[in-house]
Structures are given as C-alpha cells and as structure tokens.
C-alpha cells in the first residue's frame, strides 16, 4: 500500500500552500478535501447562472508576495488587481473617500474636518510604523518565550529587535497600540465620526470585539499590513474571484507532484504509539503517511480527528479555551445593473473600490452590543464590493456581482439556532440597510445568496464560521496562537502539524501559516531545498 511523505487535510488556501511548498521540496504529498471543490473559504462558485461569486473571502491583500513568487502563482493564472480607492457613505448623503492619491484623500477628509485631514498623515505614519515592525514577523515561526533552545532565543532576540528599532517613542506607541481599543486610538487623531467609523471598520471585520474593546487596535493593523504592488494597505480583487487564488495554489502544488483528492473526508487520524501514521477516510479507506498536516482549525483538528485519550488533558483544555467566535455574515448578490449611491454622485469612481456602511463609532459599538446579546446587528456594518468593475468575467455583460460582508452576526441566536426563516430575516436587514443608501436597490437584485456563520461553518468547515480560525486578540497572537507552547505548527502528537489560520500569523488569505508550517515540517524532516 502506498505511503505518502505527507497528507494535508483540507484544500483551503493554507493547506494548498503547505502542500505546494512540501511538494516543491520533493515530498510526496496528497491533499484530502472533504468537499467536491477545493479552496475552502477562498472559492469562486457559480450559484446563479452566469454569475461567479467569491462565496466567502472576497478581497486580497495579505497574500505574501514571497509566496506568489516562490510558487510562481501568476503562471498558474493568478492575477490580483489592486482597487484604488474605498469610501464610506452616510445616510445623510455625505461620503468620505480614500484615494490612491493622498492629496485627493486629504481633500476628501478636509470636507469633514480640516484638522482630521492634517492628522491623517500622522495617523498613517504611526500605523505604518507598526506595520513595518510586524510585517517581517509574518513569515517567521513565533519563538517560545519559555524555552531556552537556541532557535527560540534567536527568535525572541529578533522579536525584541523588531520592537527596539522603533525607538523610545515608537515603542511606547506600539505598547499602547497593542493593548488599547481602536476607538481610543482613533480619538487621539480625529474628530469626524464618519472618518473614525470608516477606519474602525478594519478593526472589527471578522472579530468579536467592539471598536471600543481594548485590543481592537491590533485588528486594525491586521487589515492594513498587507500590500499589493508596493502599496502597503492596498486591497485587490483576484481575477475570477478568490477561487483563483486556490486554483493557482493547487496548480503549483500539482506541478510539483502533489495529488489533490476531493470528496475525501477524513474521519479520524491513525495514531500509533503517540505518533500519527495516516488518516482514515469517511468511507473506511486508510491512507498512510510519515506526517499529517491539518489545515483545519485547531478545535476541529484535535476535537474531531483525534481521540481524547491520545492527547494530554491540559492541551485539550487549552484547545477548548481557544476562542473561535462567529461574528460575520456574507451576502452574494447578482445585480441587473449597477446600483446608484446618491452619496457618490459627485465621485462615481469610488464605486470601484470598497464601499463601507459605518456611520460612526457608536454605530459599530451598538452593532457589537447586539451580537453580545445574541442578535445580528440591527444596523450592521457592511463592506460592499463590486468586483465586476474590474473583472467583467464574473457576470454576464452589463450585469454585476456585489459582495456584501456583514459584521456582526452571531453563530447562534439568542432564541436558538439559525433557521431558514431567520436567515431570510437577516438577509432582509442587510438589503434594507443597503436600500437606505441606494434607493431602488432591491429592484435590481436578481439573486441574493445569504450566508450566516452557521452556513459558513456547515459548508466550509470553519468553526462558528469565524473567518480567521480564531480571534485575533492579544491572548491569541504570536506564541499564544493557537495554544501557548504549541505555537510552532506542531501539537503534542508526533507527526501531526497545523497549517491553518488558527496558527500564527492568523487569517486573511495570507498563506503565511501554510508556508511557515511547511518550513517547520521540512526543518524536522531535515530537508533543505536548494534555492
């Protein structure tokens, strides 16, 4: 019977990244995907004739350029087009635009507050300083601060240096930044509620924190530390939808010899003598390998695939204490034509980028309060994009695809689990909200596919439908992610690795967890690929 060098469970973008790196280093790799399609949450699906939806993840920024280059993803069809602006629109017809051109952004902010326009440059500088510190750490394995191993001490030294280079002021700022709330951080610079609301949007996407929860400032950073074509903080569309990212990664993996099997649901791991030797599929088939890499989140990996008796009790407890909270929903909408946003009448091009509904800090905070009480936000934060402005292949000529990301949506509701009726009601809340900003919007909707956290969990297999496979709070970052002492892509079982977004540096179609995990596996296997 064939024995592989490595089995990757789950063909999400991180699993595919890990597989591609491992195959490229010469390992014999098989990727096992439960669903019929690969991609996990980075997937494009035709759910309405002629329309291609980026079903879950919808924009791209964090995907590391190193991975694009190492795996030659452009050769496998990946093209990412940065969108050049974004905007927040208000019910009173006002808007505020963030443009590729700083002067234009300044003008736009100055219409709301001249002080804020001046402060924005300093805000950007301060944020970018933090980005500069964190970015080099993304493709590093987090060091264990309790360890005396040379690797860890070197890693800690590197971490310390990254901080120390900030200088005295920058360091104080960094310490505050990592611990304070996004709201307090923004209040230091700005007075315009619309400006603060739009910037705070980045601090709550995918996160079960309010903008005034301490720690939310870091999440803001997580959303602006990506870069495209040299522009830090820029976001872009993948041509063909986010599935194109997964397809390109799969192409790279296959090119290097990896095998990808869909419809292959892993039921459990085969553990012998504390060592993982392979997997058993739902149909009973067993596949053996020297090591297994799980793209699943840490809870699914250890709670579902391994018998508790094979794991140390305190480790299992720590896994259960890892916070993975569903807080986001998604609407994919097929449109008969472009919607009209009166607030953008004077700057119609702003429609080409992200359109935020985020009236003020209180608007977001109250949305969070609803979530805490087991309700979807009555007035939700929306991140709207219309990728067909850039990529006409995603809809029939003249028609458009709109993606609407919704925050906050609870994984289960105060009055019980999600039902189709509740899902419809949730969808109606969102459409009604859009209608407030785009009168007549409903009339151009051809199809609307509503996805609750429960739907995302059931279809994609993300626990609670959390898009990051775990909250990005201070207690779950770096050496704490996912479990203190197990932050280096390995768990307590020999031969079992983690490569999903539950691991450092977290979610957001970065590919970094997959690449980092592959590097650790190759380190253990003592394989060093010639550059």
């Amino acid at each position: 019977m064939k024995r592989y060098d490595a089995i990757v469970i789950g063909a999400g973008h991180n699993g595919l990244t890990a597989a591609a790196y491992l195959a490229r280093a010469g390992l014999d790799v098989v990727v096992l995907e439960r669903r019929e399609a690969i991609g996990g949450a980075a997937i494009s699906e035709e759910r309405h004739p002629g329309f291609l939806y980026s079903s879950c993840s919808y924009v791209c920024s964090l995907l590391r350029a190193e991975i694009m280059r190492d795996l030659d993803l452009s050769k496998h069809g990946l093209r990412i087009i940065p969108y050049e602006n974004s905007t927040v629109i208000a019910r009173n017809g006002e808007s505020l635009g963030f443009f590729h051109d700083p002067a234009k952004t300044r003008q736009s902010i100055a219409r709301h507050s001249r002080r804020d326009a001046d402060a924005y440059a300093e805000f950007n500088r301060d944020l970018y300083r933090q980005c500069r510190m964190i970015r080099p750490l993304l493709l590093e394995t987090p060091p264990d601060p309790t360890s005396f191993r040379l690797r860890d001490i070197k890693g800690l030294r590197k971490l310390q240096k990254a901080f120390a280079q900030l200088g005295e002021d920058g360091l104080a700022q960094a310490m505050q930044f990592w611990t304070m709330s996004c709201g307090d951080f923004l209040d230091r610079y700005f007075e315009s509620e619309l400006l603060k609301g739009s910037l705070a949007g980045n601090s709550i996407i995918g996160t079960a924190l309010g903008p005034y929860s301490p720690g939310s400032a870091y999440v803001l950073l997580h959303h602006v530390m990506g870069d495209l074509d040299g522009h830090v903080g820029a976001w872009g569309f993948a041509v063909g939808g986010m599935g194109a990212v997964s397809d390109a990664l799969a192409g790279a993996a296959r090119e290097h010899g990896a095998e990808i099997r869909t419809g292959a649901e892993v039921e459990q791991l085969i553990v012998r003598g504390g060592r993982v030797e392979g997997v058993a599929l739902a149909g009973g088939e067993e596949i053996h390998a020297a090591r297994v890499v799980s793209n699943l989140d840490v809870k699914r990996t250890y709670n579902r695939l391994v018998a508790p008796s094979d794991l140390p009790g305190d480790f299992l407890e720590a896994v259960n204490n890892f916070k993975i909270r569903g807080s986001s929903g998604k609407l994919n909408i097929a449109l008969d034509r472009l919607p009209e946003f009166p607030a953008l009448a004077s700057e119609p091009l702003l429609q080409r980028g992200g359109i935020l509904i985020s009236e003020s800090m209180e608007y977001l905070e109250r949305g969070y309060d609803d979530w805490k009480n087991g309700l979807w936000s009555r007035e939700p934060f929306l991140d709207i994009t219309i990728p067909t402005h850039y990529d006409p292949t995603m809809a029939p000529p003249g028609k458009h695809y709109m993606s609407v990301f919704v925050q906050y949506v609870p994984p289960t509701l105060a009055d019980g689990p999600w039902t189709p009726e509740k899902r419809d009601a949730f969808g109606k809340t969102v459409l009604d909200t859009i209608e407030l900003y785009s009168p007549g919007f409903r009339d151009i909707v051809l199809d609307c596919w509503v996805r609750t956290p429960a739907d995302i969990e059931n279809e994609v297999g993300l626990t609670e439908g959390n898009i990051f496979q775990g909250e990005l709070t201070l207690d779950q970052l770096l050496f704490n992610r996912p479990v203190p002492g197990y932050a280096q892509y390995r768990g307590p079982l020999a031969g079992l690795y983690m490569c999903g977004s539950s691991t450092h540096p977290g979610g957001g179609v970065m590919g970094a967890p997959g690449a980092n995990a592959a590097r650790e596996i190759l380190h253990d296997a003592k394989i060093r690929r010639a550059a």
């Binding site: 601060p145 309790t146 120390a164 005295e168 002021d169 360091l171 104080a172 700022q173 310490m175 505050q176 611990t179 304070m180 307090d184 209040d187 230091r188 924190l209 005034y212 929860s213 301490p214 720690g215 204490n321 916070k323 209180e362 905070e365 109250r366 309060d369 805490k372 009480n373 709070t473 201070l474 207690d475 050496f479 704490n480 203190p484 002492g485």
Partner: protein
C-alpha cells in the same frame, strides 16, 4: 501680579495634596530627615478615601469603605499600628447576593465554608475554585514585587533599564513554564472568558467579573480585565494577598494614622492650603504659590494631585513639550463609579446574621451578562436599570463607625455609572442613583425599604468637584493595560519624575494606580529621595 508676597515657609519637600498617597510620601520624606510640608486644598485630609456625604449625619463614612492592597511594608515602616491603625476585620468574606435571596459565600478565612457554599450551585466549581484562587495567587505574586518598584523607561541602551527588564523576565521565568505560559496568555484576556473557561456558576462568575472591573469603566468582556483582577489580587492586606479589610474607624482612621506617622517624623500638615501654582524657574521647581498669595520656598515637590492637574494646571502646558501635553490629555480617566450611603432604622435582612453581615462584603452582580449590559448602557451615557454594586455595613463590626444615632449605615459602591448622563444633568444622575439603589436594597433585603431614614449619593462629577481630580475617577486614570506600568500616566512620565526638575508625581495616576495602597506615594518618595542624593 503685584501685592505683597507673604512667606509661607521654607521646606526641603512640599507635598501637594493630603490624600493617602500624599501623606505616605510626606511621612517617608520626613523619616528620611527632610523638612516636609503637606498642602491640602480642602478642609480635611484623605482625598477620595475619606470623601463622604455632606448631609445626613453620616459621620465617619468615606468613599473607600473597605481597603485592599495597603502595602504591608508601609504599615511596618511608617509604624501605622503604633499610630493607631487597627483592623476591625482583617479578611472580609465576599458574599454574592442573588435575586431571590440566595447567597454565595467566598470566605478567605474558611475555605471549607466556601467549598460548601459554591457546592450548592455546582460541585464542579467548588472543586475548581481553590485551584483557581491558587493560580491567580501565583501569577499575581509574580507581579506583586513590581508594584513597589519604579517602572523602567523604554531606553534600552541604558543598563539600569535593561536590568529592570531582566528582573521582570526572571520573575516570569521563575513561575515555571506552565504558569509563565498561562500568565502570558491570560494577561491580555478579559475576565468574561477566563471565568467562562473555568466556572459554570453565574453568581461566582459575576463575583469574579465584578472584582475585575470595579473602579474602571470596563465590562467583563473588555480585554484587560484579567490584568486588573490580577493587580487587585496582588495587593496584600493584613498579611493576606488579595484580601479586603475593614479598618477600625473607617478610612478616616487610616488617614489619621498616616498623618500621625508623618507628623511624628516632623512633617507639617496644612489644610485649606490650596496650591495655585508650582513655580518653575529655568526648568526646575522654585517653590509653590498658594491661593492665599503666600509662597512656599522649596526645591522638591511631590504632587499627589491628578497628573493633569499637576502638570497642565499647576505647572502649565507652556512649560512642557506639546507632545507630552497631548499624551496626558489623551489618558482616559472619566469616573464610572459612584457611592450611595443609607441610614436604616433597622438591620437589613440579607439572610445573614449581624455578625456575618459585619464582616462581609456583599456584591450584587448576578451574572456576567448583567455586568456587560450595565457597561453597555454606561458607555452611551445611559444608566442601567439595575446597577452592579458592592455593599458594606462597616458599623456592625466597628462601633466607631456606627452612624451618629447608632443606626446601621449601609455603604454602597456602584459600578457601571456613566460620568455624564446623556441629555441629563448631574442632579438627575444623583437622583437616579438613589432611586436605583433604594429599589435594589428593597429587593435584596426585603423590608429594608421602609426603614430608610436618610440617603446620600456621590456622583463622579461630585468627586471631581470635591477633589479637583478631573473626571472624578477613583484611580485618577483607568488601569487598563494601555495605561499601566511604564505607560502610566503617559509615556515619558511613568518614573514619577516629570520634565520639571524637582517635581514628582506621587498620586493614583502613577504606577501602580488607585486603591488605598499607598504605593504610588511610596515609590515616588523613594525615587525623589534617591535622586536628591545623587544630585539629579
């Protein structure tokens, strides 16, 4: 300004503010042989600790009805016991009040009683509780020594600073791998998650949540609240870590002991001596100008006033760098805690005997959701319908504290109070606080509503007006992670030293923050004395 400048005396050290931190600083400086004067603006000493109701005959009531975290080293070195400090109760029981009259008792004196009480709700939690206490005890003990030390700066190039970081690192390492990992994980967490990870009993979780946010404007879901809980646990009172005690004679007696200790060492204490200005000449302190026009001649000033009052009002923004001023202005410190005192005609029936009632700290915070919803209301400037509160009847264990008519005084500390009610004035807030508290009392101690003879309340704005601390915050500034240790009160000011040579911050706005601990005063005084010795 013209007119005769009257001489107010010449001293080595002047202390601004006669709160407990000011008195501690004064006593330490006097014991080190310095001539010291304490200048208190108001008619009484004690600052926020002894701030009481002005009407209603609540003689010795003070805002700080219970004391936790008073530094034992200070009690010893200032000989506070010789100067009259006694504890009526050294370890109070925590009693969680529940709607419907049920009680959950956590007794620091009697672990078995605690186990039984929790066991009635959940045997599992009863088993887990001792380990949880021990765990927090170990982690907070690692932090505790740093409460008595000057925080380091972020100038890594200096060896003294590196040494302090090594000390901190070593304290963590000494915890052992398991506890160190635990500490590094939970220190940034919220008390909601921590309590949920361990326990299933709502009342117990509510109690933990309440202790994690009292004094601050947090909900249990606010990250940082585990840190504030640990800091509370790190305090030691009457030899017991994390305990709460009741001084005989109330907070006023503690203040008297501090004042007596300071006086005995030669310090002069003046009340109704308002400092109008800290005189600065060429970047260094050159005396104090009092509101009555007199001048104090001194080169070292320790100010226990709010950092903003000290630097922006008494010194003036113009003497400071604008970025430092900006940092100070951004420090969060709007109060979220209020007080209500009630005098009752009869002992309230909380389901506890008079003697138990006298040595208990009653907490109404039935579950974490309750606390979080209260926080949600307060953050929008609304007053929650039902308030989380801490209730004490200090007079029962301490005859000195009985009301003037020997009737029980119920001292209530309210959490989740907005600093400002949206679209309402402070009088309306005050009225609402009284109404909410009496209603809660009638509910929690049936029959007590009819016996209320007098009620007084104290809002954050009143604390602000009475003490001059902008925001009227108990700790002067919030004690979240972003405003703690070397970031407290603001970057660049965490070593008690200010840019004005000879001027030191010694109040609750400095590390380690509020509560009647005396630590900011002691740390600042020691730093100032050491600096004077080395000439800087």
């Amino acid at each position: 300004m013209t007119g005769a400048v009257t001489k107010g005396g010449r001293y080595d050290v002047a202390v601004v503010g006669g709160g407990h931190n000011g008195l501690v600083a004064a006593a330490l400086a006097a014991r080190a042989g310095r001539s010291v004067v304490v200048l208190e603006a108001g008619p009484r000493l004690g600052g926020m600790a002894t701030l009481g109701p002005r009407n209603g005959g609540f003689d010795s009531a003070g805002a700080a009805h219970l004391i936790d975290g008073l530094s034992p080293a200070l009690v010893q070195s200032l000989e506070l016991q010789r100067h009259g400090l006694q504890f009526a109760v050294s370890t109070l029981d925590d009693v969680a009040l529940l709607p419907g009259g049920e009680l959950l008792v956590v007794s620091g004196r009697d672990p078995e009683a605690t186990r039984r009480s929790i066991g009635r709700f959940s045997p599992r939690d009863a088993e887990r509780f001792p380990e949880f206490e021990a765990r927090l005890g170990r982690l907070s003990a690692a932090l505790a020594p740093f409460l008595d030390r000057v925080p380091p700066t972020l100038r890594f190039e200096e060896w003294s600073e590196r040494l302090e970081y090594l000390r901190l690192g070593w304290a963590m390492r000494r915890l052992g791998r398991r506890d160190m990992r635990d500490l590094l994980r939970i220190i940034g967490m919220n008390s909601f998650d921590l309590a949920e990870e361990v326990f299933e009993t709502d009342a117990l979780k509510g109690l933990i949540g309440f202790d994690s946010l009292l004094g601050n404007r947090f909900g249990p879901r606010s990250p940082n609240t585990v840190y504030t809980l640990l800091q509370r646990k790190a305090g030691t009172i009457a030899g017991r870590r994390g305990a709460t005690a009741l001084p005989k004679g109330g907070p006023a007696a503690l203040i008297e002991a501090l004042a007596a200790s300071a006086r005995a060492a030669g310090a002069e204490i003046r009340t109704e001596a308002r400092v109008a200005e800290i005189l600065v000449d060429n970047g260094r302190v050159n005396g104090l100008l009092l509101a009555d026009g007199s001048e104090i001649d001194c080169r070292t000033v320790l100010s226990s006033a709010h950092p903003r009052t000290t630097l922006l009002e008494l010194v003036g923004a113009g003497q400071l760098d604008a970025d430092l001023v900006r940092g100070l202005r951004h420090a969060r410190g709007e109060g979220g805690t209020a007080k209500v005192w009630l005098r009752l005609g009869a002992l309230p029936d909380f389901g506890l005997s008079a003697s138990d009632l006298g040595r208990s700290r009653l907490v109404f915070a039935p579950d974490l959701g309750f606390l979080e919803r209260g926080h949600d209301a307060a953050k929008y400037g609304e007053l929650p319908d039902r308030l989380a509160m801490e209730i004490a009847l200090p007079g029962l264990a301490d005859e000195h504290q009985l009301g003037s008519e020997s009737k029980p005084v119920v001292s209530v500390t309210l959490a989740n109070v907005p600093y400002r009610l949206r679209n309402r004035d402070d009088a309306q807030l005050k009225q609402a606080l009284v109404q909410r508290t009496t209603a809660a009392l009638a509910d929690l101690a049936p029959g007590s509503g009819e016996t209320i003879e007098a009620v007084e309340a104290l809002t954050p704005k009143e604390v602000e007006a009475a003490t001059g601390a902008p925001g009227g915050h108990w700790h002067h500034l919030e004690t979240g992670l972003d405003q703690t240790y070397l970031l407290r009160p603001a970057p660049g000011l965490a070593q008690y030293r200010t840019p004005i040579q000879g001027l030191w911050l010694c109040g609750a706005g400095s590390h380690p923050g509020g509560g009647v601990t005396g630590r900011p005063g002691a740390n600042a005084a020691r730093a100032a004395l050491a600096a004077a010795k080395t000439g800087r």
